[in-house]
Symmetry: none
Subunit: 209 residues, 4 copies
């Protein structure tokens, strides 16, 4: 009964490396400046060991980030599948973003990877794309679509075009993120978090009716 999951968890040393990378990213290190020796030192393993599991530095980092993203996606998926009204879930999503956002950079990476933005080192980006295609992951899209169906079912939103739904969702999520970024940067906006959430939810619903 050791391992039931089909995608068998990565070996322990790999997990240690993933963890090391994520930690550093969250601590605000420049992804493009992370050294293999940084990773292995933090993971408490030998430098050569990294190359037993990966064939290049870029691969290590890309895999680590995607592993992290994967986890966050699963959390979002859970939120969407749990019980609760459309509105409540929207609130929970924003809350999760807020929480995750504390781990500074990771969230940015999440957004960028999701929206396909390119500022990650080109080679690293390629690595990420490669892996994502492997998994055929429209996962994120599926989560959003599932969520939107509930909104329609509850009669909260009328618009049924999934493209427009997604645009609207992305729009408000990012709007909220921009609020978080500014808070993070110390530009305290004359706006409470609650107000922000309220506004964003309103805009979201209105834009789809």
């Amino acid at each position: 009964m050791e391992e039931i999951k089909c995608s068998s968890a990565p070996p322990q040393k790999v997990l240690l490396m993933y963890q090391a990378v994520i930690e550093m990213v969250e601590e605000g290190f420049d992804v493009n400046k992370i050294k293999v020796s940084d990773i292995t030192a933090r993971a408490g393993i030998g430098k050569g060991t990294a190359y037993e599991y990966f064939s290049s530095k870029e691969e290590i980092i890309a895999d680590a980030i995607l592993y992290d993203v994967q986890g966050k996606r699963e959390q979002l998926s859970r939120i969407v599948k749990e019980d609760g009204s459309f509105r409540e879930k929207f609130g929970k999503i924003l809350d999760y973003m807020t929480e995750v956002f504390r781990e500074k950079e990771t969230f940015c990476l999440l957004v960028r990877i999701s929206t396909g933005s390119y500022e990650i080192s080109e080679s690293l980006h390629r690595e990420c794309e490669k892996r994502q295609q492997d998994k055929g992951c429209r996962v994120m899209e599926d989560i959003v679509e599932c969520f939107m169906r509930q909104g329609v079912a509850e009669g909260v939103i009328k618009e049924r075009n999934p493209e427009l739904q997604k645009m609207a969702f992305v729009a408000q999520v990012i709007a909220f993120a921009s609020l978080l970024v500014r808070r993070e940067k110390g530009e305290v906006p004359p706006l409470s978090m609650e107000q922000g959430k309220e506004f964003v939810y309103g805009a979201f619903v209105k834009s789809l009716n």
Copy 2:
């Protein structure tokens, strides 16, 4: 009385270097992998010359990008200040984005720098921040605020809180950008550009009423 003109045109060699950097970025080079020698070679000047005008590679690239962003900001400013209705201007802004977007990466950089996103190499980022503070440039924010005032004046939008206005603006601009990105990536969405613009404008106005 050393520097009266706050932005006296940079010397020609500097311009050549800016141009070189921007070209490379637009051609899809990885910003973090651009070499000093790439820049000077493209600019047709000696490698040492770069250090007559800048004190580090990061400085060159940051300045070049900001120079480019500056140009784009001015263009947006012009659009906002020209004659035309609120709606027309919003359309022009989206058109400009579409146009600029063809030069792939630059736009992304613009967005990221504007929204303060962090994936640019930390040191490069610091350079950018430094410069933006130097110029005290709330320029972008000013443009948006100016634009929103017209909306209020025309009675198209009611919401007067500038923070919410900006959030709403950012939200829809990014929503539209997400459409452009996907088109760029070849995922043809079942949605015409016109429809996209229409939807985005609608959402924008509704969210502020």
Copy 3:
């Protein structure tokens, strides 16, 4: 009384490793670039196992090569000891060389090791030397001397100084080898193999009369 058989057959795993090394050499691998893992993988054994039988990579390779050379020497010895005239045997030696030569590199190694040439990695070379001394093997020289005695006995050659005999033998063997090398390299010389053999035998006999 520890070791009575001077060459008790090596254990099977060792033979597998020898075979792996020789194969690679014959396939044109660069001897100095053969990795322990290449050898053990080909031999179908664990990497650590190599160190149960040898104490360094150089030792493995040197032993393998010498094992191979040993085999070739035995074959030459057989040729020399079989029935047949001096002339016939000389012909058979050249034929054997031609045959062996198809396995490209090995022959070169043979020549080099025999003539004491040094281009093999210094450490590898030292290993070879050490082993050859161990076995006190003048074997090759013995073969040649034995062969030459027959020539003298048959009255085909007059020169009795063994040094000169060996020089003459080496000279013609190498001359013939140079022909083979060129054929191998695709420089088709306007000279049939038969002619080459004929010439070489003639030169050999004449030089010793």
Copy 4:
């Protein structure tokens, strides 16, 4: 009037590097173990400088060896073109070999490269071949052919087939080399150098009549 020679001498730093490589080879270093840092340290230049002139370590070494070989070829060419009888020149060639041979390894390399033997690291070998083709160098062959013509003209040798001539020449040169090698290795053969030369010349002439 600075540089008249068509193939313009290599820059000074390159020469320093060539010299360093050759020195090391002559001192008996293992060619395959020479490090870039060994070369640059000996040449008294910075490590990075090596890569201003070459694009890989192999290139440096291959070029250095060929540069050296080139010099030796020129010397042989001079010997052949000077005044003197066929016999005298043959003697001078052997003398030159003897002299050069003191610089241990270089001579071996010379022989090997000339005869196309393969024990140099495969990649290094490829580099050598590449360069030799560039120069279209049958140079060595030309020298030998030129030399042989004199022998024919003097009536010392009759055989006119250039292939056979070359084989005979190679044969005796190598035979002599084998003598030198053994002397080098301390196996003092009961044979004076003079006797060796005498024998070799005799064999050479006889084999071509």
